[in-house]
Amino acid sequence: METVTLTIDGRQVTVAKGRTLLQAAIEAGISVPYYCYHPGISIDGSCRVCIVKIEKMPKLQTSCSTVCADGMVVHTRDAEVIAARAGVFEFLLVNHPLDCPVCDKGGECPLQDFSYTFGPAESRMDFPRRVFDGEGVKGDVDFGPTLMLNRQRCILCTRCVRFMKEVEGDAQIGIVDRGYGSEIATFEERGVHSLLSGNLMDICPVGAILTRDYRFKSRPWDNPGVVDTMCTLCSKGCSTSAWLKARPEWAKGTQLIRMTPRFNPEVNNYWMCDIGRFTYHWVEGDTRLRRPMVRRGSALEPAAWHDVEPPLRGRLQEAGSTDPSSVRFLVSAHASTEELFVLKQLVRGLLGSDGLSAVTIAWTRSNKPQSAAAKFKVPATDAPNVNGARDLGYRVGPGTDGLPDLLPLRDAVEAGRVKAVYVLDPGPDGSLGDVSWLGPARRSGALGLLVVQGVVMNELAAAADFVLPGATYVEKDAIYTNDQGRVQAASRAIGLPGEAREDWDILASLARSLGLAMPYESSHDVRRALAASMPGTAYAQADTLVFTRPVPARNWLQASNPSERWKWDFLYQDLPPVKGYSVQTEGMPPEAVFIPLKPVGVRS
């Protein structure tokens, strides 16, 4: 790799050739503020807060758009830079409404933090602020089905404009009018209609674009727990962070409050889609299964696990007594690799080496309309682990691009050739596709036994003889194989609801009660056995994958997990906005920390 060496604030910094001064400063841990720069989109150079002094250049330069050269000598804390930068910050706040108390960005807002650190200590703005509530234009408006736009807060960095043009591929957002009247707008105020719209809240450096889902839900300091995990709602498997809202100890209960993307250059870059971002409410919804249930007469009644297991074993053994292959398994591709591994041992133990033919893997596909130029494509397959099932030897057809074939199972069930169906589905409602035939088959008697190991109460579970509550993707440590064949880890973020158990555990105890050896105490044991059984594949390292837990934050404004912390420290350089003190200003001369205003009308 070719490198260049330059001096920033008296420090020798060596970076790859082609990096900009701002990137070099961020890599070296030197604080330079920025708004229009975002590592995931192109460089614009419009906000001017990143200005630095470069020796031998007559004027201050924007560091985000200046490429490093050998021998450059750069000052970011020179008196001239400090004064000019404070001037830019003063202009940014001239029309900003400063409604931080009701702004969802407040507390994690780069405008707050950088203004506190680099801006002037007070405002000279005595005039009425510009408000966009004139003819035909409203300040605070709906911005499409998922977003809200507050024009008063916008600082016109154009990150959203560039994101839509470059990543989404459909330039729905633009700047209309010019100069003082410039504003962010969509054609005829139609708003943003995109599968990637949620990313606009992440990239907007102020609270101008906010998602409706997170609107008024929480304040950043109420979300101290952040878990690095991954999204399992399609076969892409984006790296994500699950945020947990805490409450005071006397008002008990943490809550899953939002999902944000986590930088992963191999899979999702800085982004995630709206499906993964907004579809998490079902996890803590009312339809979740919390207790095992057994059918007594026409009703399903809650029962304890130890009361469920003996009759379940009895019924399964009875169903398989004449012909073991008349017990079938219908498994959603939302099942993790651990679960599929335990299931494989279970069916092999019961049915012999071709036991896997008794398992039907199901998933759905949906058309996700995106523009042809979109850089971030959301795959059609709505399940995370079709590839994992294939790698374990299950029959899933070629590629992840096909539809599952439930017809043989359906025919067999409707013809009465199947005595029992065991359904395993840790995914959201509907992830098995069309199984509306299964309930009626059970009710008509064509099928003798229906066991549903799932997470939500739905039509299928309501028709079952046994309902076993399992765990969703944020409630267990599990691995999934995405459409690129990457084996990825999803960490447990929240506890299991009620008496629910992890799915591999339910399967393992069922196998034990049927007389099979299952020497596993934890999902880690399963991964170890999986790794040992598949040497030379991507699974050989399955037991070394890292799962994360929220760790206590160092201060109340800091996210608790390492990757979020990295983001806060380096990407947003987000530190307690305590006036007069900031870690970023440590070591700076006092005159640089307190930036006094020049009196109006006096030329210095």
């Binding site: 108390p101 009701v102 407040g106 605070d140 008024f216 839900k217 005071p248 006397w250």
Partner: protein, 170 residues
């Protein structure tokens, strides 16, 4: 000589005399009593009578209303994060215009009576002057369930001339 202590006391009783030890203090005490009988009374018959509290007394919080009777709290959560005792819990929600003037209001606002240390930080943190330390100090309750003050325990009554939408709320 610890065993001789009693003997020693008895000895001093003998030497000072009975009247010196018993009668004179009794008369002094009665004289004080009689003197106070003619002084103004300072005892307050609480709870029938109450002492006025000092202007800066910090009692049970009150949540204010504006001149239209609408709530002032915008549910920013700054009081709750400023609170050193973690005594405040609130849930913001979207306002339809009947609760307060802005878009955001506190759907749930709770202060835990026994956690609050009455430091007044919540009052200081509030950007919209919605919460004030009140003067109410009679905070004993009969059940632990009443330890939590809800919004209706904290909100002041709407002002006399308030317009209807506000009154539709509480």
């Amino acid at each position: 000589m610890p065993v001789l202590l009693g003997v020693g006391c008895f000895g001093s009783w003998e030497s000072t005399g009975y009247h010196e030890l018993m009668i004179r203090p009794l008369l002094t005490g009665l004289a004080t009593t009689f003197r106070y009988m003619f002084k103004p009374k300072v005892t307050v018959n609480y709870p029938e009578q109450k002492v006025p509290v000092f202007p800066k007394y910090r009692g049970k919080q009150v949540l204010m209303r504006d001149e239209n009777g609408l709530e002032k709290c915008v549910a920013c959560g700054l009081c709750s994060v400023a609170c050193p005792a973690d005594a405040i819990y609130l849930e913001p929600a979207e306002n339809d215009g009947t609760v307060l003037a802005g878009p955001r209001y506190a759907k749930v606002y709770q202060i835990h009576n026994t956690r609050c240390i009455f430091c007044g930080f919540c009052e200081e943190a509030c950007p919209v002057s919605a919460i004030f330390m009140g003067k109410d100090y009679e905070l004993a309750v009969y059940s632990k369930d009443e330890f939590i003050w809800d919004k209706h325990d904290l909100l002041v009554p709407p002002p006399a001339g308030a317009t209807p939408p506000a009154l539709a709320v509480s």
